[in-house]
């Protein structure tokens, strides 16, 4: 196609650029001619590929070749950012080829897809041009959806548009015709539009817009305005045109030409005022304080004084009310404040007055039955009676009832209703009065002031129920007041039933807690708990039980709080009545377990709570804190069971306390594994080893001052944790004391020289045997098993209390088995005497006592001891029996 393209240069001379801007001149026109020819030649068949070799390198220099007409256009468009006008018939042809003749309706999407597919292999520049193109299509699409151009008239649009030489119109047409969503209703219309479109393209006989022509026409119009003495209009138009020119809009000439085509006798019809209507109305500037103050300065006297409200008395019997009621409505309200004198000037209250019929006033006056004073009984309607009862039940003063200072409600005899007899009515009222009394007492109870949290929680719990009750009563009241359309039966007997139903749970609560006796706090809780247990036993219906249970839960939770705090952190609240109290705050750490806190059993405490366990847990927490473990255990919340039954509730409590017992376990772990714990075992190990024996031996010669100090050190030097277990028992000392005489005797005997007389020797032997037997007994039969048992028990102990008990038991056992008990004094004295014999023997040559005498003494004492032990062993320790047996051998 020999189109003589000169390479287009963006900086080229303006006219050419303009031509391109309008899109008609230059590249487009020759295209069209050629393409039209092509159209005729080739019909609808599109063979686009041959035209599409795009020369990527040349942008401004369009490839001047037959094949590049399309691409040249695209390139131009890109270069100058012109509209998709530059896409030529080529594109159009391609698209049209899809649609009309084949009677297929294709959607915009399909068209787009087709084109996109087609161009997908091409480079970005072409795609860009397509983007712009599609944007245009979408704009046209939007236009199609607008109500301004209803679709059914679009055929006209298509016709006209397609007669112009803009190929994209064709796409617009196809787009409009193709989509079903645009116009679903009329298939015939579609066909029509399509036909228009296909026709339209062949006819292109609109001239392009000549901007000079446009300008001259506009000038002519302005002249006309001036000639016809419409200077302002002319000026307005001229100004606007100038502004438009300054804006530099691209298609200004086209738009103006469009206006000129559309304009409808502006010379005659245009009014300048219309221009003003265009402007959106500016809202009046908001009122500012400055303006208000300028208008009405607030510096009058008395404007800023305090206003006293409510000085008028509100009592029903007040005279002022009557006055107001009877006076004309149009007088302004009496206003005690000073600035009232300004008001009548500013506004007249009669403006606000409503017209009211005279008899309405009378009706109202009559309806206020309580005003009717007199000795006779006033007749009131049943509705009035009902509403008075409802007032009373809600604790509001009412005219039919009177509440005395003990919160007892009395019904007044001054009224009756027409339908029933006086006595019947009064009976009904008395019934209500009894109910009212219960409620009034409950209300009075909830209003008392308590300092502690627990009573307050109890009150709050009851108060909530009272509010719920009030709400129900208010609903009943409301049903009488509002006219909802459904009929409401006005019956005081029916009200009686309903009220009874509503108050039943509350009266049950009232009997439980006996508000006239001012119980709150623990007493309240306990009574309620008893009631709950009773109700479950009785098997009463679920609602009463659940009502009471709901009432119980929150105060119970408040009650648990100090317990939780104790178990969590070992801290106590400052409550002198709590069962867990601080005994000796500054006691030594070694006695912390036993002495710092004390548990005072309190009958009022909840029976289900295992106070001892709780006590232990708290103490463990404190001890762990001293050991350096801090806040290791997360809090476990108490979750009450959903339904109440005594067993379940108590089981839940126990489970909960057990679940909080982690500190106890931690402490035991610590005792088993840590250095503290090791100290305990070590000190126990000292007991049955040779340590004590050595000490005893040492002390014989060296005096026991050192040894005693050593033994005390074992005890006091132990870590404080261990001291808490061992407490005041000094096991070591105890055993030492038992062993010492034996070792002393033994040493003495051993030091007796062998070169003595045979009878002395014999006695020595016997004494030695005795001492050895005792020693063996102590170490083998007593210490070893006892200590073993103690060790096992200590390891198994669950808490420090248990361990301390084991220790204490160890000591007692040792004392018992070592015959150190005071009850066995005769035997122990005899044994002591026996053990003195060796010393006597060693000094026999100094004294008068002969060996024989000593020998006799020995036999006597031994027999006594043996028999003694034998006798006690029958009822007592097994080990005594062993000892007795052994000693028995010596008696023979």
């Amino acid at each position: 196609m020999p189109m003589g393209h000169k390479p287009l240069d963006p900086a080229a001379s303006t006219p050419r650029y303009q031509e391109h801007r309008t899109g008609l001149a230059g590249a487009a026109a020759p295209f069209r001619a050629g393409s039209m020819a092509r159209n005729r030649d080739t019909g609808n068949a599109a063979s686009p590929t041959s035209h599409l070799s795009f020369d990527a390198t040349s942008k401004t220099e369009c490839g001047i070749s037959q094949s590049s007409s399309l691409t040249a256009g695209a390139a131009n468009m890109m270069a100058h950012s012109v509209r998709p006008n530059a896409l030529t018939d080529e594109l159009v042809e391609i698209i049209s080829g899809f649609s009309v003749e084949n009677d297929k309706s294709i959607t915009v999407e399909e068209q787009k897809d087709a084109v996109m597919q087609f161009y997908s292999s091409e480079c970005q520049e072409v795609k860009l041009s397509l983007k712009i193109f599609y944007r245009w299509v979408n704009t046209a699409w939007e236009l199609a959806k607008s109500p301004i151009l209803p679709l059914w008239t679009l055929c006209k649009l298509q016709e006209s548009l397609s007669t112009s030489l803009y190929p994209p119109n064709r796409v617009v047409v196809s787009a409009f015709t193709g989509s079903k969503t645009v116009h679903q209703k009329d298939a015939r219309q579609f066909k029509l539009l399509r036909d228009c479109a296909s026709k339209g393209l062949r006819n292109q006989h609109y001239a392009r817009v000549n901007q000079f022509d446009v300008a001259s026409r506009l000038d002519g119009l302005i002249e006309k305005f001036r000639i016809l003495n419409n200077e302002p209009l002319a000026d307005a138009l001229q100004n606007r045109l100038n502004e438009l020119r300054d804006q530099g809009t691209k298609s200004a000439p086209e738009i103006l030409s469009f206006f000129l085509h559309l304009s409808d006798k502006p010379v005659e019809k245009t009014r300048l005022a219309d221009l003003e209507l265009l402007k959106p109305s500016v809202p009046p500037p908001p009122l500012t304080w400055a303006e208000i103050i300028a208008d009405d300065p607030l510096n009058e006297e008395g404007v800023w004084d305090e206003v006293e409200f409510g000085t008028g008395s509100n009592s029903e019997e007040s005279v002022s009310f009557d006055e107001e009621q009877s006076s004309d409505d149009s007088t302004p309200p009496s206003n005690p404040t000073q600035d009232a004198r300004n008001l009548p000037e500013l506004y007249d209250a009669s403006d606000a007055a409503l017209e009211m019929a005279r008899n309405t006033m009378d009706e109202i006056t009559q309806a206020q039955f309580w005003r009717q004073s007199g000795s006779e009984i006033v007749v009131i309607t049943e509705l009035q009676a009902i509403r008075e009862v409802l007032l009373m039940l809600r604790g509001i003063p009412s005219s039919l009832f009177q509440v005395d200072k003990y919160d007892k409600v009395h019904s007044l005899r001054a009224y009756r209703i027409a339908q029933t007899s006086r006595s019947a009515f009064h009976d009904i009222l008395d019934g209500f009065a009894r109910t009212g009394t219960i409620l009034a007492q409950l209300r009075g109870w909830t209003k008392q002031r308590y300092e502690q949290v627990l009573p307050q929680a109890c009150q709050a719990s009851v108060e909530r129920r009272l509010w719920q009750f009030d709400g129900s009563i208010a609903e009943i009241d409301e049903s009488f007041v509002t006219r909802t359309g459904s009929t409401v039966i006005v019956s005081i007997l029916e009200l009686e039933n309903r009220v009874q139903y509503l108050t039943e749970p509350l009266s049950s609560v009232a009997t439980t807690i006996q508000p006239d006796r001012h119980t709150a706090g623990l007493d309240f809780l306990n009574r309620l708990y008893e009631r709950l247990c009773y109700l479950t036993m009785e098997g009463s219906d679920g609602t009463t039980l659940s009502y009471h249970y709901a009432l119980y839960q929150k105060p119970f939770e408040v009650y648990l709080r100090p317990i939780v705090r104790w178990m969590q952190s070992g801290k106590l609240l400052d409550n002198p009545h709590s069962p867990i109290r601080l005994a000796d705050q500054h006691c030594d750490l070694g006695r912390m377990w036993s002495d710092r806190f004390k548990l005072v059993p309190n009958e009022l405490e909840h029976p289900a709570i295992p106070m001892r366990k709780v006590f232990i847990i708290g103490k463990c927490v404190r001890m762990l804190e001293e050991l350096g473990y801090n806040n290791m255990h997360p809090a476990v919340d108490f979750r009450p069971p959903a339904e109440f039954s005594k067993e379940r509730f108590e089981a839940v409590i126990n489970r909960w306390v057990d679940s909080c017992a982690a500190p106890v376990i931690t402490l035991q772990e610590h005792l088993r594994n840590s250095a503290h714990g090791q100290a305990l075992w070590k000190s126990l190990d000292l007991l049955d080893g040779p340590y004590l024996s050595e000490l005893a031996i040492r002390s014989i010669d060296g005096g026991d001052r050192y040894v005693l100090a050593e033994l005390t050190r074992i005890r006091t030097g132990a870590p404080w944790l261990i001291r808490n277990i061992m407490r005041e028992h000094n096991v070591h000392l105890c055993i030492y004391n038992a062993l010492l005489p034996l070792y002393r005797a033994k040493t003495t005997l051993q030091r007796l020289s062998a070169s003595t007389r045979s009878d002395k020797l014999a006695l020595r032997q016997r004494l030695l045997w005795f001492v050895d037997t005792l020693l063996t007994y102590m170490t083998m039969d007593v210490l070893k098993p006892t200590l073993l048992q103690a060790r096992t028990r200590l390891r198994q102990a669950t808490d420090i209390d248990a361990m301390a008990t084991v220790f204490a038991q160890l000591v007692t056992r040792l004392e018992t088995q070592l015959l150190l008990q005071t009850t066995l004094r005769p035997i122990t004295t005899a044994m002591a005497s026996l053990l003195d014999l060796p010393l006597a023997l060693s000094h026999v040559w100094e004294t008068d006592v002969t060996v024989d005498e000593l020998g006799n003494e020995y036999v006597r004492l031994l027999t006594f001891v043996t028999h003694g032990i034998q006798s006690i062993s029958r009822d007592g320790e097994q080990t005594w029996g062993l000892l007795a047996e052994k000693l028995g051998w010596g008696c023979t």
């Binding site: 899109g23 509209r83 998709p84 006008n85 245009w136 704009t139 046209a140 939007e142 236009l143 607008s146 109500p147 301004i148 151009l149 209803p150 008239t153 006209k156 649009l157 006209s160 548009l161 007669t163 112009s164 803009y166 994209p168 119109n169 609109y206 001239a207 392009r208 817009v209 119009l221 209009l233 307005a236 138009l237 606007r240 045109l241 502004e243 438009l244 804006q247 809009t249 691209k250 298609s251 086209e254 738009i255 103006l256 030409s257 469009f258 206006f259 000129l260 085509h261 559309l262 304009s263 409808d264 006798k265 502006p266 019809k269 245009t270 219309d274 221009l275 265009l278």
Partner: protein, 71 residues
């Protein structure tokens, strides 16, 4: 850049305002919305005379809509 976009939008709005005023002065019976659509069409290549004829035709066909839509 948002500032550039803002100024562009502002300029566009001003242009439409001016065009609206001109069209009112020329008594074209176009409301602002229609005007902006037509401007858009024209900017995208629709022939102004063609469009004007179409609109005249539409108005002829829908005289009742005239008052509603300001066509």
């Amino acid at each position: 850049m948002p500032a550039a976009d803002d100024s562009k939008r502002k300029a566009a709005r001003e242009t439409i305002d001016i065009l609206h005023e001109i069209s009112t002065l020329l008594n074209t019976h176009l409301d602002r919305q229609s005007l902006s659509y037509c401007v858009s069409l024209i900017e995208n290549g629709v022939n102004p005379e063609a469009l004007a004829n179409v609109i005249k035709d539409l108005r002829q066909h829908n005289p009742q809509q005239r008052s509603d839509n300001g066509l």
